[in-house]
């Protein structure tokens, strides 16, 4: 069941109504039933996988809970087995065919008469999200961060909570579970703000992302038929599309949660306002990057081998580089994993490597940049410098996303070269050609206006202005005018595809 459907709105309406009708001590039971019903819409088979992850993680958690905090060796065996089972399932379902396609030619090179057959496998909805959420819980239990959940049904709700199960955010047990289990009284403010957040999500998804997708889907597959300026516009719009699509879906999920008094973690903090690639990643898909930081980056950088490397590097290289060397390899590992987390394909591998190289190069060159800026008398606190940093970061990420979205990595590189080669721009009839990318003048105008609204709202939020509170303080007639315009914008300007079904969320497939 897509978030963008009448069915989903009806489902939310019924669930929320029942949620506030049943006694508060049974609200979590209702949520569990609603969540599994929601998941069953995708079919019975996917449920088997989420149940398997739920049961194995629950049992492993209980088992690890029997040992004292310092009995790590015993707990480690249980944790490793659990990680192997669950990441093994994920690897098999998501990456088996990719591995087979790439390994079979190697078998042939060495004249081995074997090949891995390709298998048409079903990928359970949200498997990358709930698997990571479950494994985060297990690692926290292993580390003794909190006690394991004793009630299997409570734990099942934590993993299957319907607003988050399909595309996140990847929640933490100590943040989400208590809220799911405690009862909530009906609160008008939560209801109002939750609906507003959902509406903003629908606007981002249906008015911006699905409209930008028309241009992207027109230009990307046949990029060689377009000039550099058109390719640049398509690349720019893809960066906007994927942000509006994913963050819109998260807004809808968080809005549903808020209506029921459940505050789900933030997943985005206006990433395109980041002034560097590391800052961008601290603002984009934060629940995944924080997961990688806590469960991959820190363990790797604090391992015994890394400590030895650190001692050696601090002696060998004085200053910043000596301190940074132990973080280089873990950075590559993290971004490789972030890349392939999104899917099986060389584009994702290259995307991860691309980010790793840029971040490590940025760290290595930081002293050089500082010297250059001092010599050139750059005021690093000035607004023009900040704007330049934001634009630079956006362009770097725009190129990275193009490498993934293009048909092949080679096509992505060709598009990038063309987009940044002004000599490939055909300045004759520029306005005319801009409307030959799948959208007419009116569609382009709506897209531009809605992007400006998105930028303006983000800019205000970036400057500490809370939009929903500001609207709530307005007089009733202004408030309702804003609500009416927002609803009308989604209904009138939303993109409706064939049969009035809107486009799938991109991250739903991850």
């Amino acid at each position: 069941m897509s978030f963008i459907s009448g069915e989903f709105l009806l489902f939310v309406f019924i669930t929320v109504s029942l949620y506030y009708i049943v006694p508060r001590r049974f609200q979590w039971v209702l949520l569990l039933l609603a969540s599994y019903s929601f998941y069953l819409f995708a079919g019975v088979k996917p449920v088997i996988f989420i149940v398997l992850t739920t049961v194995t993680t629950y049992l492993a958690g209980r088992w690890m809970g029997r040992f004292a905090k310092n009995e790590k060796k015993k707990k480690k065996k249980i944790l490793v087995a659990l990680l192997l089972i669950n990441f093994g399932i994920l690897l098999l379902l998501k990456y088996y065919n990719f591995i087979a396609v790439n390994i079979n030619p190697i078998f042939r090179i060495f004249e081995y008469d074997v090949s891995m057959p390709l298998v048409n496998m079903m990928l359970p909805l949200g498997i990358s999200f709930y698997t990571f959420q479950a494994m985060g819980y297990a690692i926290d239990i292993y580390r003794g961060k909190y006690r394991p959940e004793k009630n299997l049904a409570h734990f099942a709700l934590f993993l299957s909570f319907f607003p988050q199960v399909i595309q996140g955010p990847i929640s933490r047990y100590d943040q989400l579970a208590p809220q799911l289990l405690e009862g909530h009284r009906f609160d008008y403010e939560n209801m109002k703000f939750g609906i507003q957040l959902m509406l903003w999500g629908f606007f981002k998804k249906m008015v911006i992302a699905d409209r930008a997708a028309i241009v992207v889907n027109t230009v990307f597959p046949l990029y060689y038929g377009y000039d550099g300026s058109q390719i640049f516009v398509a690349m720019f719009l893809y960066a906007i599309q994927i942000y509006a699509d994913f963050s819109g879906g998260i807004d809808i999920a968080r809005g549903v949660g808020q209506i029921m008094g459940i505050d789900m973690i933030q997943n985005f903090q206006r990433p395109y306002f980041g002034t560097s690639v590391p800052e961008y990643w601290r603002r984009w898909h934060m629940s995944l990057t924080n997961w990688m930081r806590d469960y991959v980056f820190f363990p790797l950088t604090l391992s015994k081998m890394s400590n030895r490397l650190g001692r050696w590097s601090r002696k060998r290289f004085k200053g910043v580089i000596g301190r940074q060397i132990p973080a280089y390899l873990p950075t590559f590992v993290v971004f490789f994993l972030i890349g392939v987390w999104h899917g099986a394909g060389w584009g994702y591998v290259v995307f991860g490597f691309y980010n790793g190289v840029i971040i490590v190069l940025g760290m290595v060159c930081q002293p050089l940049f500082s010297v250059m800026n001092r010599k050139l008398r750059v005021n690093e606190k000035s607004i023009p410098w900040k704007v330049w940093q934001v634009v630079r970061t956006f362009l770097i990420m725009m190129v990275g996303k193009t490498l993934v979205r293009a048909n092949t990595v080679k096509a992505g590189l060709a598009m990038t070269l063309s987009a940044f080669d002004i000599s490939s721009y055909d300045f004759c009839n520029l306005p005319h050609r801009m409307f030959h990318m799948g959208v007419d003048f009116n569609q382009a105008l709506i897209l531009c206006t809605s992007c400006i609204i998105l930028f303006f709202v983000s800019f205000l939020q970036e400057n500490g202005i809370e939009i929903r509170n500001t609207i709530a303080r307005q007089r009733m007639r202004w408030r309702w005018l804003i609500y009416f315009l927002a609803i009308a914008a989604v209904l009138v300007f939303g993109v409706y595809g064939p049969g009035f079904s809107v486009g799938e969320f991109i991250y739903r497939n991850f």
């Binding site: 820190f298 950088t301 601090r314 301190r323 973080a327 760290m363």
Partner: protein, 77 residues
């Protein structure tokens, strides 16, 4: 405490470490800087900081970092 402050200032200058109470929560220090601080602390105080110590509360202020160092020195004697 002075040693901790001098390490912090060497890794990232321009911050009032004696007053700041949310070095990690407010993202004043990023993960790379925290890792660099840990490397320096480990060497300067002869302690081993493990992933279990990687909670924001241990790194949110110079005082918290100093307390962590003292605790680990005591535990790892």
């Amino acid at each position: 405490m002075d040693k901790v402050l001098s390490i912090l200032k060497e890794i990232k200058s321009g911050i009032d470490y004696e007053k700041e109470q949310k070095l990690v929560d407010d993202e004043i220090l990023d993960s790379f800087e925290v890792v660099a601080i840990i490397g320096e602390l480990s060497e300067a105080f002869g302690i081993e900081i493990t992933v279990d110590d990687m909670v924001p509360e241990n790194f949110n202020s110079a005082k918290a970092i100093y307390d962590l160092v003292l605790r680990l020195q005591e535990e790892q004697k």
